[in-house]
Symmetry: C2
Subunit: 268 residues, 2 copies
């Protein structure tokens, strides 16, 4: 049985990259909702609705666990998904929050993400639940997503944008910064340079992959395959630059990608 | 009877601004498909499908003409809309192409837009149909949309992005540049500075408003109201920053905006 992963688009492929590295023999079915991306600017009701549709789609592929590889959907839809489905549902928020808490020495953590993730205080609430004495400083960075998709990982414009978004956080003396959006690991070099080299960056994908491994062991559904797992890619639309951007995010070449009719998602 | 205007999101409000200025007594019903924005990265089949749904929605509001205030939808869906509906359908491509042709002196025209508009050679084909000796130089500028929505109309990052996108066009000795996306008039100052002050910028919204006036006169459906027309705003989702960005694009304050259920659009 494969692991199911969904995201609003292609950003979740950075999480798939981490999953493949931690669990190389597990097969993965990925659904990217590219016809309805971005979720970050949509209402909570819409994000929950789409997340249920995406989960239903993956369950039809017989997956043993659902990874919500999208910070927006993780922050908004997970309680509803856990209420509605019996399969384990793992988001990227709690693993990232947990790792940030373990890393900080001075108790001052920064969080960057889409407007939806930041407005929902998703990481902030998760970290406060672990230890409410931690001080958290949040900042929405909406332009990081399109600039990562443009592949401008080290462009002068990227430095200017990062400077604008991160200058407030730099003054807060944080020692840990959560990359609260699956696109942001692509911009890690620029973010590290602007925020300062002593600040530890948290890539939620790495933390999430560890949690998925533990969860699969717990339910006793590890694969017993001896060969590398497959990656099946489904998307609700195939943008013109899909292959190029997907390979940038995944860190390797891809072969086939299957388009799912959005009308079918509504009916599942 | 009002004029119906649709766009993939809020960019079309720059066209509404021009329409209100040219036809101040006409009422306008605007539908922004904010739940499914952007169209620029979607396949042709999806853009046509959504455009038909949006037109059906506006026709239920008893509109006398449809303005496709979205370059992507104008470049892809208009033939299909004209085949399917009897009401006049006016896009932004032909009026913009026509105005660019009238403005150029040296026969060298630049066109900037989303990837979909540029990949479809929409303006290029439209200008070539008027005069195939015109030389046209096109460039997709995907980051201009999110940077306009962020309101960074004069930011250093905006200059860096414009420099990256426009440096090729600057070497082509164009004397006219079509702003082939409804968001771009917001960035006109930066674009003008980077491309050079002698290059004439073409705002399709202005050209489109003139064509709409002529078309309404032709079918004899000018309003006989003596007072300013209403603007009714419908969207398929209300993003957190909607009011702020919509007012930036429209150039005035807005009151009510009504959310339309996307499921209903599928059923119309």
């Amino acid at each position: 049985m494969p692991i199911g992963v969904f995201d609003s688009g292609i950003g979740g492929l950075t999480v798939v990259k981490r999953l493949s590295s931690v669990l190389p023999r597990e097969s993965i079915v990925y659904f990217g909702d590219t016809a309805r991306v971005p979720y970050g600017s949509k209402s909570n009701a819409t994000v929950i609705d789409y997340s249920i549709q995406n989960t239903n789609f993956l369950l039809k592929k017989n997956v043993k666990a659902i990874v919500v590889a999208c910070n927006t959907a993780s922050s908004i839809a997970i309680p509803e998904l856990r209420k509605k489905f019996t399969v384990p549902v793992i988001g990227v928020i709690l693993p990232g929050a947990d790792m940030a808490y373990k890393e900080t020495r001075n108790g001052r953590i920064g969080v960057i993400g889409t407007r939806a993730t930041i407005n929902n205080n998703a990481y902030s609430n998760a970290i406060k639940e672990i230890d409410n004495k931690i001080e958290i400083f949040e900042k929405a960075c909406p332009l990081f997503v399109p600039i990562a998709e443009e592949g401008w990982t080290h462009h002068r414009a990227t430095y200017e944008i990062a400077e604008e978004y991160l200058k407030e956080l730099r003054e807060k003396k944080i020692d840990t910064l959560v990359l609260g959006c699956t696109h942001y690991p692509l911009l890690a070099d620029v973010i590290q340079e602007i925020i300062g080299k002593d600040v530890k960056l948290i890539d939620s994908g790495i933390a999430t992959a560890e949690v998925v491994r533990n969860e699969i062991n717990r339910i006793g559904l590890e694969t017993n395959s001896a060969v590398p797992g497959n990656l099946d890619l489904y998307v609700s639309d195939i943008p013109t630059t899909f292959k190029q951007v997907a390979e940038l995010f995944l860190g390797r070449t891809i072969n086939e990608v299957v388009k799912v009719d959005i009308e079918e998602l509504h009916k599942i």
